[in-house]
Symmetry: C2
Subunit: 530 residues, 2 copies
């Protein structure tokens, strides 16, 4: 799809300088700025009207100098900016095609066979976008499958077809950690994503409409199954290595459990063996904030022929960004600096850390499909390599196996109701008294019993050489989760586990270290792959 | 104000059982639930229409059994619930008075003198709501001023006038840590709050309208100044102790800096000497989410005669709740339990930790004024006891002193424009390469130089006996911030600092430990106060 460059800039959240004059003006002529005597801002009933009114408002003549309030009305350029974005997107969607997400040219594998998902959903067919670097050797034994983080595309490194730098540009190439002189590196966009693989924005062949929120719930294992289909198609029966960071670490381990004979070695950087409640909580708030955007809520996610939930996406990304970096790095980088100490404080972004978060959200809010975020984020919550869940899933898949036949002929389709699970009674807070302190002796009894389940669940990887890398300043996939992977594998009898933890003396970059620390993270991977 | 009880339940986020039938029904009759064959949900243009349509939708007859999508449409009872809340609030606001926030009966001190705030705002007059326990002795030397957390009222303990348990019920009373046999305990609602003290929801005497977002930016020091006005009125020239937890800890220290001779002892539990970037970031996301609620955004905070931003408040509280408790506690309490493991997963709350957050937000979303949250949260960000900021503030107050005369006669009022501060250029991410790793050697140089500023700033407290309590599992006011307070005071020459840190063996309750650990936190306070 060709989109003119200025439009792409707008899609990417950039606002032309001229359009930003209403917010930047006060910096130049403070005295010309809306004084305390100005009329109260008119009340708008809808966001669209509000944007129009705001535009008019900015050019209204100053009112006579009569005190109307004890103090000046605060200004909210951060909200004006949202309205500008809405206006621009409205104009665009009236005159052109809806946005599509792309990371540029890539290969596509299309499976015409249906795929049964872990929770009973069926995709009658699906695409997997992928890119490769290096050369597959004759016996097809040098393939490295690289798994991505939540929102990344297959574009891990530049290609001839797409020379844009990839998200792991320096980690891939001749002599790099994923050495293309030795390995044939494959990276895919995950199933459920929006960069060329089938996801909620794709057309459902049954309805000929975007799946939207009729897309089925999916899991890490489902994503890996789809990747295995691609490998089958490429004739690759064994991987030299399965490598992934963050969510990719989850997939890397899931591959090892799903088909241990297929995986030569495993690398998991800042991943986990199961999601823990804090990370579920952080992703929950992102999903809730996104689904509360009126553009999402009013359509229940069927926004594809309308305005996307751009503000919800921006907010979700801001929350996510808090979890990607660490307190110590921010202390050092931003401290308590305000963006402009000469101005009085504001309720809109004001401290440098706030403008950083604002920019991170702005940059991303039209770069990724909102429903992909919801489904992939949910799949991360559901990740647990424990034996109990694996057995339940096997049983569920057995019961649902018949659906595949139906889906092949598209005569029969699943009848599950995928619905919210809320208890009849709202969650009750425990008595906030010392009783809790007395009754709940801190300890790890619960964790220990779960660990046994995990040892059994990860036993299939007992013979697979595995590198586990963790970062002490990571709050999203904390170091204790990396220890859990390593210790569980060792308990399962694996004598080929390498566990590396980078302390705060090495990296203050938290979860994002895997994107930044070529020498550290890259060095360990290179050493491990040999 | 009298509100009938069912309305109060609705205001508190409770939804009568009958109204919840659409979401609870599937739990009883799974087969009756909207099948995959149902029509796509109609697209609604506004939230209000959406709510009405949703109500109709729930009673629509089932459509004929023709496959329309490959998989069933997900249900979103969490959004249905928001629409129900909106509908109920709409009916209420058409038929009755707007909501007011109250913690019950309390005393009110009214200052008829104007107050000049640190950033140049002026309140021509103001109220401070307060409650007291115990008896003021003859020489008025046994008063303990208790400062609150962000959203708490003056109701720290039950009174004759208001027998409802207070937020620190067990910490106050005969023989309790704040021993009413010995001390006269005073607790106030902060300036800027909504439980009886003057805040954004109060009428501006100039406009005779709620201040809303023409309320001036305020600081912790401003809140303490207002409290000192109350103490003056009560004839209390010296406090036996200034005690506070969380934001109250900030105020407790601010009191010590503002007027050291007035403060006999200081207790700060899980507070800080200056806000750090991670906590600013977490509060930033809460403010942004709240201000993006259309009920807030479309009125720019002037929502007092309309629907309050209840969903924005709910979301903000959910994010806040993540910061109030800790990962280890949740691991133990919720683990990876799903609310109903027999149901397929959902994008609405699903894991137990999600229903916990959802409930915390729901319970709170109509209990506190949105603008109070914004202003008080901002005041926390602005908190910094460093000397540089104190000097700048002193200079600013000197320049603005003339405004007080104006405000007394209400003839002259301030001319500052309180506006957003956004740089002309959006924030630029640093090059994400190993260059950063090389160029930014991790270290504490920046912190060290700031510490010197902090030592100078906190020097006024060098003779004040101070108890600093921290909790290792606190992520919002981490233990390192408690160490910072203690070490800074010691560096300033204070030999009367007691610093206690509760490890994870003692408390997994994170920031909320101060509300829960009567023996630990309460015990230390009791010992310290003597």
């Amino acid at each position: 799809m060709n989109i003119p460059k200025p439009i792409i800039n707008i899609l990417r959240g950039g606002v032309p300088r001229a359009a930003r004059s209403s917010s930047s003006k006060p910096r130049i002529h403070p005295d010309a700025f809306q004084p305390w005597t100005a009329a109260r801002r008119p009340v708008h009933s809808t966001s669209k009207n509000s944007a129009q009114a705001a535009a008019v408002h900015a050019t209204e003549p100053a009112l006579p100098d009569v005190p109307q309030s004890s103090n000046p009305q605060l200004a909210f350029p951060c909200l004006d900016n949202v309205e500008e974005r809405t206006q621009k997107l409205s104009r665009r969607s009236m005159s052109g095609p809806e946005p599509s997400y792309t990371s540029g040219k890539h290969e596509t594998f299309r499976s015409h066979e249906p795929i049964l998902l872990d929770w009973g959903g069926v995709l009658p067919r699906f695409d997997i976008a992928y890119e490769t670097w290096g050369t597959l050797n004759v016996d097809k034994s040098n393939a490295v499958l690289l798994h991505t983080g939540l929102s990344a595309s297959s574009h891990a490194h530049s290609t001839e077809a797409n020379p844009k730098p990839g998200w792991w540009e320096k980690f891939i190439g001749p002599g790099a950690p994923l050495d293309t002189n030795k390995y044939f590196v494959i990276c895919t966009n995950v199933l459920g994503g929006c960069y060329g693989s089938t996801g909620p924005a794709s057309l459902d062949p049954t309805s000929q409409q975007p799946y939207a929120t009729s897309f089925p719930i999916l899991t890490m294992h489902d994503m890996v199954r789809a990747q295995f289909r691609l490998l089958d198609n490429l004739g690759i029966t064994q991987l030299y290595a399965s490598v992934g960071c963050s969510m990719g670490g989850m997939q890397s381990l899931a591959a090892g459990v799903l088909d241990p004979h297929r995986i030569g070695r495993i690398v998991s950087v800042s991943g986990c063996a199961r999601s823990h409640p804090y990370s579920i909580a952080m992703r929950h708030t992102q999903r809730q904030v996104l689904m509360s955007d009126p553009n999402w809520a009013n359509t229940r996610g069927n926004y594809y022929d309308r305005l996307p939930p751009h503000q919800g996406m921006k907010l979700a990304r801001e929350i996510a960004t808090v979890t990607y970096r660490s307190g110590p790095e921010w202390e050092k980088r931003f401290g308590r600096q305000r963006a402009d100490p000469s101005r009085p404080p504001a309720l809109c972004p004001d401290f440098l850390i706030e403008t950083y978060l604002d920019h991170a959200g702005e940059k991303w809010c039209l770069e990724y499909d909102a429903n992909s975020l919801l489904y992939v984020s949910k799949a991360m919550d559901l990740f647990d390599l424990g034996k109990a869940l694996q057995e339940a899933t096997t049983e569920r898949r057995r019961q649902n196996a018949g659906k595949l036949q139906g889906a092949m002929g598209q005569a029969e389709v699943p009848h599950d109701s995928c619905s919210l699970v809320l208890p009849d009674e709202p969650y009750e807070e425990q008595d906030s008294s010392e009783d809790i302190m007395a009754s709940e002796k801190p300890g790890v009894a619960h964790l220990d019993s779960a660990s046994e389940d995990l040892v059994k669940g990860m036993a299939p990887m007992r013979d697979t050489p595995t590198l586990v890398v963790g970062v002490a300043s990571d709050i999203l996939f904390p170091a204790f989760q990396q220890q859990e992977i390593a210790e569980t594998l060792r308990k399962a009898g694996n004598r080929l586990v390498t566990h590396v933890e980078f302390g705060e003396d090495r990296s203050l970059f938290g979860h994002d270290t895997f994107l930044l620390d070529l020498d550290g993270v890259g060095g360990e991977i290179k050493k491990f792959l040999g």
